[in-house]
């Protein structure tokens, strides 16, 4: 049984100019421990697919099954609980909460778990060490470099040990040196068993991932996939 199964997932938006097909029937599976790159040009449907996998964007047709749970058959609040328990997100541009310190940002997903502040701080400190930012937990996001902020964002995404980690253009705001470091961090996490699905434009990162899924005009681009992986 695959960790994630996407069955003919379609997303059609009804806009002012009629129907817009964002995803035109996508089927694929992700196994536990995979590191997958979701690639494609702007407007190809990557973000729609990511939010759909992230239990935030129900498909118009089709299913998304994670750990044997048809996630869109769950009521909205249960889906929120599912996100909290199963999924970690690294958003574009870090998206740290500016008024919380690095440590507090990392503790954020734990705020709804009922875990005591002390235990949360211990958990967050451990993850902070893991991403190489030990001793910088008291800093506010604007006191950290771009690379450091990205590390905090990754720490926040993995603090509650979710089975799946999503990352949306995690290196988009970083220079090449920092990008490389972050990709190495993702690779390390994957080597420890973390399943990762990452949206990226950058073909250079193909060397870090185990598999790439190419998407174009809302459908999987199998030919491109083979070509790129050959590269």
């Amino acid at each position: 049984m695959s960790l994630i199964t996407v069955n003919d997932a379609k997303k059609i938006y009804n806009g002012g100019e009629g129907e817009v097909v964002a995803l035109g029937g996508v089927t694929f599976a992700v196994e536990e421990g995979e590191f997958i790159s979701l690639m494609g040009p702007s407007g190809s449907g990557k973000s729609t697919l990511l939010t759909m996998l992230g239990a935030m964007n129900p498909p118009t047709l089709g299913q998304v099954i994670i750990d044997d749970i048809d996630i869109y058959s769950l009521p909205a609040e249960k889906r929120a609980d599912f996100r909290s328990e199963y999924l970690g997100f690294v958003f574009q541009q870090f998206q740290l909460v500016p008024y919380l310190t690095a440590l507090e940002n990392i503790m954020l997903p734990l705020a709804i778990t009922g875990i005591s502040n002390r235990e949360q701080a211990e958990m967050a400190s451990r993850v902070l060490e893991k991403v190489g930012l030990g001793g910088k937990g008291g800093r506010l996001p604007n006191q950290l470099s771009g690379g450091e902020q990205e590390r905090v964002a990754i720490a926040r995404a993995i603090v509650n040990e979710p089975p799946i980690l999503f990352a949306d253009e995690p290196t988009g705001a970083l220079d090449s040196k920092n990008s490389e470091e972050i990709m190495n961090l993702f690779k390390e996490l994957n080597q420890e068993g973390q399943t990762i699905i990452m949206v990226t434009h950058n073909p250079e990162f193909l060397s870090y991932v185990k598999r790439a899924i190419f998407i174009r005009d809302g459908v999987l681009d199998e030919k491109h996939h083979e070509k790129k992986m050959a590269v």
């Binding site: 939010t51 935030m56 609040e77 599912f82 970690g88 997100f89 574009q92 507090e104 954020l108 705020a111």
Partner: protein, 386 residues
Amino acid sequence: MQLKDIALKNLQRRKSKMLFLVFGMVFGIATIVSLFTLTTAMEKSVNKRIQEAGLKLVVVPKTDTASFSVGGIPVVSGVSYNTKDLAAGTVDEIRSVQNADKIKVVAPKVMGTAIVSGKRALLVGVDFPAELEIKSWWEITGSKPQNSGQAMLGSNVAAKIGVSVGQTVDVNGRKLTVAGILHETGRDEDGIVFVHLKTAQEILDKGGKYSFVEITTVKDDAVAASLSGEIAQKLPDSRIRIVKEAAEARQELVERFGKFSLVVSLVMVVVAALIITTTMMASVNERTREIGIFRAIGFRKTHITRIILMEASIVSGISGILGYLAGMGLALVVAPLFDSFKLAVSWNPFLGAAVLSGAIILGVLASLYPASKAAKLDPAEALRFI
């Protein structure tokens, strides 16, 4: 990190906006608290005065009056002639009625005009202890007259004659020392020279007679009516009227002030609610992305609602406490301006608790819409802002 910590941290970040909200609410709450406190103090003051004064009966001699009209048009109306006085035994007769125990004070008076240090003035002879009990609002510079050689002057007459406490006045040729001068009351007293009953009777040549008698009774309309009947029987040559005490007229004034306060308070509540809703709405709009992130990482709608409502409760609670203190302070400052009421502003912990809980309830109610809007934010939509 708990939800309350997120709420507190966010408030700290938005200090200036939240201070503006607190200021607005404190202004409204302080106004309501001060109006309420002053109204309550006024009601207490008036009720106390009514209770103390009781009902007043006035016994006056029956006076023959005549009206004269020509062709149905009144030419002369209510002209008194044959003015009489109450007989010497009147006070004893009053005290001997069956319900005499219901009488609080009997204050007989004799009055007439006299030449006081060269100026014509109204002279009233009173029983000072009884008179001062009835006229509890009188304030005197100096002291009340202790003996028959002393007088007390109304403020206007004192100014007209140009005397002060300790000086002597000549009343129809009799030298009297001014023991006290009444503070201005804005009423008839200001133009009257008060002397001891006996002194006035001698000066006015009305030995033992009275012009009228004021009687105060317990505050009970039925008692006053039955007393009135009894006295009328005993004193067939007199008329008895039940007089509304000035305090009762004030009661109407206080009621009107109370209604005014209520309207102002309602307006304040509506304005405060609008300020809260607008500020919280702006806060939610500014935090669309942040709320999207919270939702994406698993916060339920109820978690978002709780954060927003906690923020509103904290701001409202602080405003409630500060507003109560400011309102009480304002009431303490303003109370002396209502000097004739002699307001006693008292700290009321129940009012404090009511204001605090009322402010929090208002804050929460006014934030329900922004909170629900925040909770309904679609995380996928919110993340598009990223």
